[in-house]
């Protein structure tokens, strides 16, 4: 059991997402940085899809009522167990009664905003329509269908013995797979159906200029600020399915990127779609900072997704190797 001690605005329980329910109007939800969640789970010997706590606002404090292994993945914030510093992306044993505190402050070695508290055994909330992710709009899934509050007690599942040895971890993907253009976070994009319906000037500006992630951005979507994006003619589309990553341009001319809690359908014209392989990067961009869009082809987008899969497989191999080494060392004693 994990007890939430802070008033944790906007922290939620998330797994990799809820699939197969779009036809009921139920969006995918799931971790904004699915790579951080999956890697944390692999380090702990969990199923990749086990649920963790996604923390976007700090400070965040919890007390562990039982001993367990944990790993913090995602952003490089200041964390400590009681008064001992805790390194992100490294597996750490926790004793019953210890308090974890995660705060902002100090230099970050990489730019990211969300921390994932992954626990061996996973956060064991009930499955709802096949997933443990919080469906905020529908008020189900996760912990009672809502963001976490002070005093909540999160159940933890049964841990496997397949975890990485304590003190071992991986180099975060933000460091091993950086993607920057002229000092700005780059995000790769495929053209969408209505790309040609925007003026040539608007399309050129879309790729050339920085886009600020405004404060009206959350798990539903990122509202961007930048040059005006104008269609050649006003466009009203029939409602159709959309997915996280779709960049819509409402009549106001400022794009909105659909994120994990975005509704599964819409009708604003689409200028592009952030490729699946870069949604984890976008999920970690801080409000107030900027991104630059880089156009890619279909083969490049598929290759980029393979790179992400390969990175996760490398983590899996490393964890298996770490276990073998530890086991070998044990026999020598």
């Amino acid at each position: 059991m994990i007890e939430v001690l802070s008033s944790t605005a906007l922290a939620t329980v998330q797994d990799l997402g809820r699939f197969g329910a779009l036809g009921w109007g139920v969006s995918h939800s799931g971790a904004m940085d699915r790579l951080a969640l999956a890697a944390g789970n692999i380090l702990l010997g969990n199923d990749d899809n086990s649920a963790a706590v996604e923390i976007p606002i700090f400070p965040f404090r919890v007390r562990f009522h039982h001993a367990c292994n944990i790993v913090l993945t995602g952003a490089d914030h200041q964390a400590r167990l009681d008064d001992q510093p805790l390194q992100p992306w490294l597996v750490a044993p926790v004793r019953a009664g210890q308090v974890l505190t995660v705060e902002r402050g100090g230099p970050s070695r990489w730019q990211a905003s969300r921390v994932y508290l992954c626990v061996a055994g996973g956060i064991d909330v009930p499955l709802a329509l096949g997933s443990r992710s919080t469906q905020l709009r529908g008020q189900f899934g996760g912990y009672q269908g809502r963001t976490l509050q002070q005093g909540d007690h999160l159940p933890v599942g049964v841990a496997s013995d397949l975890h990485c040895p304590a003190g071992m971890g991986v180099v975060p993907p933000a460091l091993s797979m950086p993607l920057m253009v002229e000092g700005t976070q780059a995000i790769r994009v495929l053209r969408a159906a209505e790309y040609e319906a925007f003026t040539d000037h608007s399309c050129a500006e879309f790729w050339a200029k920085n886009w600020k992630i405004t404060s009206q951005s959350d798990r539903y979507g990122y509202r961007l600020a930048g040059p005006m994006i104008e269609p050649k003619l006003p466009l009203e589309l029939r409602s159709h399915g959309i997915v996280p990553g779709v960049i819509q341009v409402p009549h106001g001319g400022q794009p909105i990127i659909q994120m994990r809690d975005a509704q599964p359908s819409g009708g604003y014209p689409k200028i592009g779609t952030v490729i699946d392989a870069d949604l984890w990067r976008l999920g970690q961009v801080q409000i107030g900072s900027s991104v630059r869009f880089v156009e890619v082809s279909w083969p490049e987008a598929v290759k980029a997704l393979q790179d992400v899969t390969d990175w996760l497989e490398e983590v899996r191999r490393m964890v298996a190797l770490g276990r073998t080494v530890q086991k070998g060392a044990g026999h020598d004693q």
């Binding site: 779009l22 029939r238 409402p250 106001g252 009708g267």
Partner: protein, 218 residues
């Protein structure tokens, strides 16, 4: 079909098939038929009908999408409209006033008054074409084009559950509180979604909604 549908990619996650022509129930019945067929294809994670269109989510993006697109077009050309005998529910609506904060925008755009808009809006029997937007939300066909009003320049951050709204040539009822780019003209109360039920939604494609004027304010 006179024209082939337009097919476009939604990143590497999905593709979208959009039928040509005026939005019609017959086209939608063909979409349902196609959806029921392709959802069993091994590369398809989910097939999601929209308004005279269909989204296919991939289990894994194909290295080359062209063979899948060709197969989908063949299936579309061969698909026959699938009639669904659904049920009808009646929803009492308060039009205008606090329940319909954007009624004035629809009046300004259409040149009609609130009573005329309510009369026109409540006249048809609306077939549920598809579900989407948020849990339990129904996209309805058959709205009279005289009350069509463009989506708002900027989406409203929160409209309440039960809001009856118009977006372009479409109308619908919000199933829960949330953001929307549509124009809210009235309000009703009904539970459209219950996660503990199977299926969790009150209505399915092929069912119908009838709006009844309870009151018109303004």
């Amino acid at each position: 079909m006179a024209h082939d549908p337009v097919i476009s990619m939604l990143g590497t996650t999905a593709l979208l098939l959009e039928a040509h022509g005026e939005t019609s129930l017959e086209t939608q019945q063909t979409i349902w038929s196609l959806s029921a067929q392709v959802c069993n294809w091994p590369e398809v994670l989910e097939a999601v009908p929209g308004m005279n269109n269909l989204m296919l989510c991939f289990r894994k993006p194909p290295l080359d999408p062209q063979p899948l697109i060709a197969r989908l077009l063949d299936a579309w050309r061969a698909a026959k409209p699938m009639a669904v005998e659904g049920r009808t529910i009646e929803l009492p609506v308060v039009y205008g006033g606090e329940a319909g904060p954007h009624m004035a925008d629809v009046m300004a755009h259409t040149g009609l008054d609130a009573h005329e808009i309510a009369e026109i809006h409540s006249a048809p029997l609306y077939p549920v074409y598809a579900l989407g937007s948020h849990p339990g939300y129904c996209y309805l066909g058959g709205m009279d084009h005289r009350i069509a009003t463009p989506r708002r320049k900027t989406p409203v951050l929160k409209i309440p559950g039960g809001a009856v709204s118009i977006g372009g040539f479409q109308t619908g009822v919000s199933a829960s509180d949330g953001p929307s780019g549509w124009n809210t003209i009235g309000s009703t109360s009904m539970s459209f979604f219950d996660v503990t039920k199977q299926p969790p939604t009150l209505l399915q494609p092929g069912d119908s909604i009838r709006f009844r004027i309870e009151r018109v304010v303004g």
